[in-house]
C-alpha cells in the first residue's frame, strides 16, 4: 500500500516554483531515499509534507493513508503519524534532553525513555539532564532529535540529511536507529546527497529543480553518484559534483 502519495505538487515562493508538478509514491514499510543536488527542493518537499508554516499553500495534493493533508497543521499531521527530523535540529534554552524526549514519547515511563537514548547510542545518565542547547555538538543534537523520533513511534518518518554534521562513529548510531524504526514498521524517507545514506534505502527518487527526474531501485539510482547521470531536461543542469557531494 502507498502510505504517502503526492500528486502534481507545486509550491512557489514569490512567483518562483520551488516544487513543480511533483509526483511520487511511498510504499508502506519500505525505506525510501530522495536524492538531489543542493537547492533541488529536498528540504522544501520535507517541509511541505510536514505542513510547516509557509509550506501549506500548495497546489496538487498530498495523501497520507488516502487522507488529503491540505489544510492540516503540523500537530494534526503528527497525530496521524507523520514526523520530520530537521536537517539542522532546533536548539532550545534550558530544555533538558530527557524532557525533550519524554515530550515526544508515546510511552512516558522511564524505561521507554532510556530505550530511546540507547537506540541512538546516547548514554542516558550522561545526557538526560543536559540542555538541548548550543552546548551540544551538531552530531549530539542530531542523535537526540532521532531519539525523540524513535520515542514517538511514528508511522512515517522523514529524515532530512540524517548524516549532516555527523562523524563516522555516530553515523553507525544513526543507521542503527533507522534500522530500528524500520523494524518497528515505520516507513522512512531519507533525504540525502550522500551515497552512504542512500545505501540504507531500498527505493529512491532523484529530485532536481523541484521535480522528480527518475525513480527506481537504489542499485539504479545510485548511478547518479557514479557520474552516469542522464541529461537533465531542465535549464539548471545540476552539477554532477553537486549530486555526488557528501559521498
Amino acid at each position: 500500500m502507498d502510505i504517502l502519495k503526492i500528486e502534481n505538487l507545486t509550491l512557489s515562493f514569490n512567483g518562483k516554483n520551488i516544487l513543480s508538478n511533483l509526483n511520487l509514491k511511498i510504499t508502506e514499510g519500505i525505506i525510501h531515499a530522495i536524492i538531489g543536488p543542493n537547492g533541488a527542493g529536498k528540504s522544501t518537499l520535507a517541509s511541505t509534507i510536514m505542513g510547516l508554516e509557509g509550506f501549506r499553500n500548495f497546489e496538487g495534493e498530498i495523501y497520507f493513508k488516502n487522507q488529503p493533508l491540505k489544510g492540516l497543521g503540523v500537530y494534526e499531521r503528527a497525530r496521524l503519524g507523520i514526523t520530520l527530523g530537521w536537517q539542522e535540529p532546533a536548539r532550545y534554552e534550558g530544555l533538558k534532553v530527557s524532557q525533550f524526549i519524554k515530550a515526544s514519547s508515546k510511552n512516558k515511563d522511564k524505561d521507554s525513555i532510556i530505550e530511546a537514548f540507547n537506540i541512538v547510542g546516547i548514554d542516558y545518565y550522561e545526557y538526560h539532564s543536559r540542555a538541548v542547547d548550543k552546548s551540544l555538538s551538531g552530531g549530539e543534537r542530531k542523535k537526540i532529535e532521532l531519539a525523540s523520533i524513535v520515542a514517538m513511534q511514528p508511522s512515517l518518518v522523514i529524515l532530512d540529511e540524517p548524516d549532516s554534521g555527523i562523524d563516522i562513529a555516530s553515523l553507525k548510531n544513526i543507521f542503527a536507529a533507522i534500522k530500528y524504526l524500520h523494524e518497528k514498521d515505520a516507513t522512512i524517507i531519507l533525504i540525502t546527497h550522500s551515497l552512504e545514506v542512500l545505501k540504507q534505502a531500498e527505493f529512491a527518487y532523484l529530485l532536481c529543480n523541484g521535480t522528480i527526474l527518475d525513480e527506481g531501485k537504489v542499485s539504479k539510482i545510485r548511478k547518479y553518484f557514479e557520474g552516469k547521470c542522464m541529461p537533465c531536461p531542465h535549464k539548471n543542469i545540476p552539477l554532477l559534483s553537486e549530486i555526488g557531494k557528501g559521498v
Binding site: 510536514m50 508554516e53 500537530y75 520530520l84 534550558g94 533538558k96
Partner: protein
C-alpha cells in the same frame, strides 16, 4: 498552625524540623520560627510592618546546608518590610534559600532592603523563590546593594514563576573588587496585567573582576516588562556579560536596555538581548512530535525559565 500554609506552599515541611538546618521564618511582621547553627549569627528585630535581620557568617566558617529563609504573609491584605544586613566574613561560605510566599494575596506590598557584604575570598549564594496567589494583588519591591571584597564570589537568583507576578520592581547593584565574581539571574513569568521592572547593575572595579547579568522573562496576555542591565568595567582585565532573553506572546510588551561601559582598555564586556515570540523551529519540532501548540509553547517557556 497558621504558618502551615507557608510551609506547604514553599515545600518546607521537612526542613522546618531539621535541627541541622538554620532557618528563619517570618509571617508578616512576626518571627514564627528560627534555628541558628554553629558558625553563624542572626539578630532579628521586629520593626513597623516588618522585620529587620542582621546575618553574620563568621570568618572561615563553611555552612554546609543552605540557610532557609521564609518571608510569608498568610493574610489577604498586608504590608511587609524586610530589612536585611548580611555580612559574610573573610573565607566564609554560605548559601541561602529564601521563599517569599503570599498564597492568599489580594493586596500585598512586600518591600525588601538588603545590604550584603561578602568578605575576602568568601562565598555567598542566594536563591529567592516567590510563590504568589493567582490574584495578582502583590507588589514586590526588592532593593539590594552588594559589595564584594577581593576574591569574593556572589551568586543570586530570583525566581517568580508560580502564581501571578502583580508588580515587581527589582533593583540590584553590585560592586566588585579585584578577582571577585558576581552572577545575577532573574527568571520571571508574567501573565494578565503583570508589570515587571528589572534593574541590574554591576560595577567591575577591581582587576580581574568578573560579572554576568542574566534575565529570562516570559510574557503573555497584557503583561509588560522593562529590563535595564548595566555593567561598568573600570578594573583592568575585568570581564562582563549581559544576557537578556524574553519571550513575548499575545499583547505583551517588553523592552531590554543593556548598557555596557568600558573605562579600561584591557577590560571586555559583551551583551546579547533577544525579545520575540517563541522560535518557530522549536515550536514546529515539538508539534511534529505530536504536541499541541499550547503544550509546545509551555515546554519551551518552562525551559527558558528553568
Amino acid at each position: 498552625m497558621e504558618e502551615d500554609i507557608l510551609y506547604e506552599a514553599a515545600n518546607l515541611k521537612d526542613v522546618i524540623h531539621d535541627p541541622t538546618v538554620a532557618r528563619l521564618v517570618i509571617n508578616k511582621d512576626k518571627i514564627v520560627s528560627s534555628n541558628i547553627i554553629k558558625g553563624m549569627e542572626i539578630f532579628p528585630e521586629e520593626i513597623k510592618d516588618g522585620v529587620k535581620v542582621k546575618l553574620v557568617v563568621k570568618e572561615g566558617e563553611i555552612i554546609e546546608k543552605p540557610i532557609h529563609l521564609c518571608f510569608g504573609i498568610t493574610e489577604e491584605n498586608a504590608v511587609q518590610n524586610i530589612v536585611i544586613d548580611a555580612d559574610i566574613e573573610k573565607n566564609a561560605s554560605v548559601s541561602l534559600l529564601a521563599h517569599c510566599v503570599f498564597p492568599l494575596a489580594k493586596d500585598i506590598l512586600h518591600k525588601m532592603d538588603a545590604k550584603i557584604h561578602v568578605g575576602e575570598n568568601a562565598h555567598y549564594s542566594y536563591f529567592e523563590k516567590h510563590i504568589h496567589s493567582k490574584n495578582g494583588g502583590v507588589r514586590v519591591l526588592p532593593k539590594t546593594i552588594v559589595s564584594l571584597d577581593s576574591g569574593a564570589r556572589f551568586k543570586t537568583e530570583f525566581e517568580l514563576i508560580k502564581g501571578r507576578v502583580g508588580l515587581i520592581d527589582i533593583d540590584i547593584e553590585t560592586k566588585c573588587l579585584e578577582n571577585s565574581i558576581m552572577e545575577v539571574t532573574s527568571r520571571i513569568n508574567g501573565t494578565d496585567e503583570d508589570k515587571i521592572l528589572i534593574k541590574e547593575t554591576g560595577y567591575l572595579i577591581g582587576e580581574n573582576s568578573r560579572g554576568v547579568l542574566t534575565s529570562r522573562v516570559a510574557l503573555r496576555d497584557n503583561a509588560k516588562a522593562e529590563i535595564f542591565n548595566k555593567i561598568v568595567a573600570t578594573g583592568a582585565h575585568s570581564r562582563g556579560h549581559v544576557d537578556c532573553k524574553e519571550i513575548v506572546q499575545d499583547n505583551a510588551q517588553a523592552s531590554a536596555i543593556p548598557i555596557v561601559e568600558v573605562k579600561n582598555s584591557t577590560a571586555h564586556v559583551t551583551h546579547e538581548a533577544s525579545i520575540g515570540s517563541v522560535d518557530s523551529k522549536q515550536l514546529e519540532t515539538l508539534m511534529s512530535r505530536g504536541l499541541t501548540e499550547d503544550a509546545a509553547v509551555e515546554l519551551i517557556i518552562q525551559g527558558l525559565l528553568s
